[in-house]
């Protein structure tokens, strides 16, 4: 802190309020040696406010024509001064009155906290710690099952769930074969749903749904086995549970960093972040599927064949990136790439086809496969 020069020590007109009433007094200010001197002109002693303890609630910007100065020892009291040259000299002596000075007071601790948070995030990233999955791992089975069954019931409600006994037996045989070395195999349930989509998905608690259309579109039982192994892979990794927890956590974090004022765009940001995780989950479920198929001695070719056919149907003509793994560098990306929830079929095919072959037998006998395809001949009665 520098002391005011003799030239600076001149009187300036201002108004003083004592914080007790709304009355204001005309006063003279002086940059004294001990602080800001306020002479109220009523014969009383001049008030001296130490420079280091001066404060303001409205930062004094460069070239400001006015300032309101306060001193915390006199709560509510203020001096309203309108003299740019005087204010400039005062800010030089008491830099905490400037916007930069006011920010510096708490910005350094805030930045230190941010550094710690960012460091923790980087460490978690480096150590591959997945908090959502860790929390999902702590959920009791009963909770996971309840939620999973509830989700499944949305798709395979009564009247849509296929239960032809022979088909069910074939499905159970396939499930048992795939789950041979999976912990908590009893939890897993596969429901066939007669709904107008060609898909399969995993819900929490190892609950899975595969649609009639998907079974009908499969050329071999090995293809169905590959798809089911992939969904079981999601169950083993607890992806559905982790996904729910992640959405809740990300929503909370986005609300926190945006101060709760994001509006609809936070949902967009959430989708982008979430889809990135889902793409990783799909790739990881594929790895689990390949492991399960190998253990069950079911060929991975069915899994690959399904994706190859799927890719041909889904990819637009000319979309080389979608269909042809070897032409990746020539392919073109789009903004929609960022919104993809699944890896490209060509990427998945590359991984599946790249695994070493092993001795295998068909996933189901011819008879079992025929019965599985007819599983929707009987459905759970509506109540």
């Amino acid at each position: 802190m520098s002391m005011p020069s003799e030239q600076a020590a001149k009187l300036v007109h201002a108004r003083f309020s004592d914080g007790q009433s709304a009355r204001s007094w005309s006063c003279q200010l002086l940059l004294g040696s001990g602080g800001l001197e306020i002479d109220r002109g009523d014969g009383s002693d001049a008030l001296i406010w130490p420079y280091s303890a001066l404060a303001t609630h409205t930062a004094v910007s460069r070239g400001a024509g006015e300032a309101i100065i306060e001193w915390h020892e006199m709560p509510g009291a203020q001096v309203h001064v309108r003299d740019a040259a005087f204010i400039e000299r005062l800010v030089r002596i008491a830099p905490q009155l400037s916007a930069g000075g006011m920010r510096r007071r708490w910005l350094m601790p805030l930045l230190a906290v941010m550094g710690i948070i960012l460091g923790a995030i980087a460490l978690a990233w480096h150590l591959d710690i997945k908090p959502a999955r860790a929390i999902a791992g702590l959920l009791p089975d009963s909770m996971r099952l309840t939620l999973g069954r509830s989700v499944v019931s949305q798709f395979a409600s009564k009247g849509r769930a296929c239960i032809a006994p022979d088909g069910q037996r074939a499905l159970d045989a396939l499930k048992t074969r795939l789950l041979r070395d999976v912990p908590d195999a009893d939890l897993y349930t596969i429901t066939v749903a007669d709904i107008p989509i060609n898909n399969a998905f995993a819900a929490p608690g190892g609950q899975m749904v595969i649609t009639k259309r998907l079974i009908q579109s499969a050329k071999t039982p090995d293809e169905v086995a590959g798809i089911l192994a992939h969904e079981i892979g999601h169950g083993i990794e607890r992806h559905p549970e982790a996904g729910l927890i992640r959405v809740m956590g990300l929503s909370f974090i986005i609300e926190l960093i945006s101060g709760g004022s994001t509006g609809g765009l936070s949902s967009l940001g959430l989708i982008f972040l979430q889809t990135s995780y889902v793409r990783q989950d799909e790739a990881s479920a594929d790895q689990q599927a390949l492991r399960l198929l190998r253990q069950a001695k079911i060929s991975q070719n069915g899994f690959a064949d399904f994706f190859a056919r799927h890719a041909k149907k889904r990819c637009k003509p000319g979309d080389t990136k979608c269909t042809a793994p070897d032409k990746q560098k020539n392919g073109g990306g789009t903004a929609f790439d960022l919104l993809r929830t699944h890896p490209y079929p060509k990427d998945r095919l590359k991984v599946i086809r790249g695994t070493a072959s092993y001795t295998s037998t068909p996933a189901l006998t011819t008879e079992q496969w025929r019965e599985l395809r007819k599983i929707c001949n009987k459905k759970q009665a509506r109540t």
């Binding site: 914080g19 709304a22 909770m143 960093i257 101060g259 765009l265 940001g269 789009t334």
Partner: protein, 412 residues
């Protein structure tokens, strides 16, 4: 200027209100943005505080500025308290119930309905508490404002009248807004002196009827026009089993009709809004002074459009800025080529976040313009014994606006 308001010990002083535009708002916008990015957004609360300080200081009573004494940490802690004591437990409760009983179970549904009711009530509470905090942090000549009264009264009125809006087809709204404004205004104090509000909702029903009929007519007119233009074609194509896909010209017609309908709707609703604010101002008194306001529908619409364009500029500017960060990694290649690069992909996925932050980039300017419009169209006529007004005891509020932040109900 100071000589104009030389105090008279027990006399009355004429009151006036004016606006002196705060300098440096563009610089403040970019500073706030930079600090929000560096702090992952947490600076939001301090940024908001600094903006308020500037805006408050631009509002002059008898040519002396208001002072905003709130602090960023008060807003931050208020938000943290509400998020951790209300929102996080509620989220966990909902998740736990859904996990335990399933999302469609009657218990889950009952809890969801209960939460809607609780949050509906909390919304009104948030508005009142935010207003109380802002008034407690507003000073003029060192004397602070305050909002006395029980927030529960406001929250309950806000809640039950909101439930009646659909049942009355909206016709409770003039009465509701008058009632809610009455609770807030009549509980407002400057120092030890109360503000008085004596508006009745009757005079608002004429403008409301115009807005209501105008709104319905615009709605029916828009859909009637679209039906008249396209219904025959849709029907004919349906008979032939061909789905109706509008041509570019037809889409243009629908869009133009929608735009015109939007402008008409904005005009009638803004007219009602302007009349409401003017009516409320006209019935607000402080000591021997009376407020009046001269807002207009055109003025409000112009303010809304220009503020929207400023917000859009910020969003596009920052979105483009984030996207341009990919240039060092991929050069000026096409998007199709650029997205092959993993770093560029990461940067492009951050563009929505850039747009999100960009929407609030020029918030200081937008908020100052809105406040400026209001203050410049507001006047005070009459006197008050300013020298006799003393600081009211108590009324200190520790933390600010947590609920309002969480519900995003804050105007400034």
């Amino acid at each position: 200027m100071d000589a104009e308001v030389e105090p008279r010990p027990t006399g009355q002083t004429n009151l006036s209100v004016s606006w002196q535009h705060p300098p440096g708002l563009i610089g403040l916008s970019f500073t706030n943005l930079a600090l929000r990015v560096v702090t992952l957004g947490i600076y939001h609360f301090w940024a908001k505080t600094e903006v308020r300080q500037r805006i408050w200081s631009a509002i002059r009573i008898n040519d002396e500025p208001l002072t905003y004494t709130g602090r960023g940490k008060e807003l931050f802690f208020g938000f943290l308290i509400v998020m951790s004591c209300i929102f996080l437990p509620v989220m966990l409760l909902v998740a736990a119930v859904a996990f335990t009983f399933g999302p469609q179970h009657p218990i889950t549904n009952s809890i969801s309905i209960l939460l809607y009711i609780v949050f509906g009530f909390l919304f009104g509470l948030a508005i009142y508490r935010a207003q109380r905090y802002r008034l407690a942090r507003t000073r003029w000549r060192g004397i602070r404002g305050s909002l006395v009264g029980d927030p529960m009264v406001y929250a309950w009125t806000f809640f039950w009248t909101a439930i009646l809006i659909p049942f009355t087809l909206g016709w409770i709204m003039p009465w509701r807004s008058t009632k809610l404004q009455s609770i807030i205004s009549n509980n407002t104090r400057f120092g030890d002196r109360p503000v008085k509000f004596d508006a009745r909702s009757g005079p608002l029903y004429g403008p409301f009827a115009v807005a209501w009929v105008g709104g319905i007519a615009t709605y029916l007119g828009f859909f009637g026009l679209v039906a008249m233009l396209f219904m025959a074609k849709v029907q004919a194509q349906r008979n032939l089993g061909i789905p109706f896909i509008p041509s570019a010209r037809e889409v243009g017609i629908i869009f133009a009709a929608f735009l015109i309908a939007g402008v008409i709707f904005a005009l009638v609703t803004s007219w009602y809004r302007a009349r409401t604010i003017n009516h409320f101002a006209h019935h607000t008194h402080f000591e021997n002074a009376k407020f009046s306001a001269g807002l207009s529908a055109v003025g409000l619409i112009w303010l809304g459009i220009t503020n929207f364009l400023i917000m859009l500029t910020g969003a596009l500017l920052l979105g483009a800025l984030v996207a341009s960060m990919a240039v060092p990694f991929v050069g000026l290649s096409s998007f199709a080529e650029a997205i092959q690069n993993p770093i560029a992909r990461l940067i492009f996925s951050l563009v929505p976040l850039g747009i999100l932050f960009g929407m609030t980039l020029f918030a200081p300017i937008i908020q100052a313009r809105s406040s400026s419009y209001l203050v410049r169209h507001l006047s005070i006529d009459g006197t008050a014994p300013i020298d006799d007004i003393v600081q009211a005891a108590g009324n200190d509020v520790q933390y600010g606006e947590g609920l309002a932040e969480a519900f995003d109900v804050d105007a400034i």
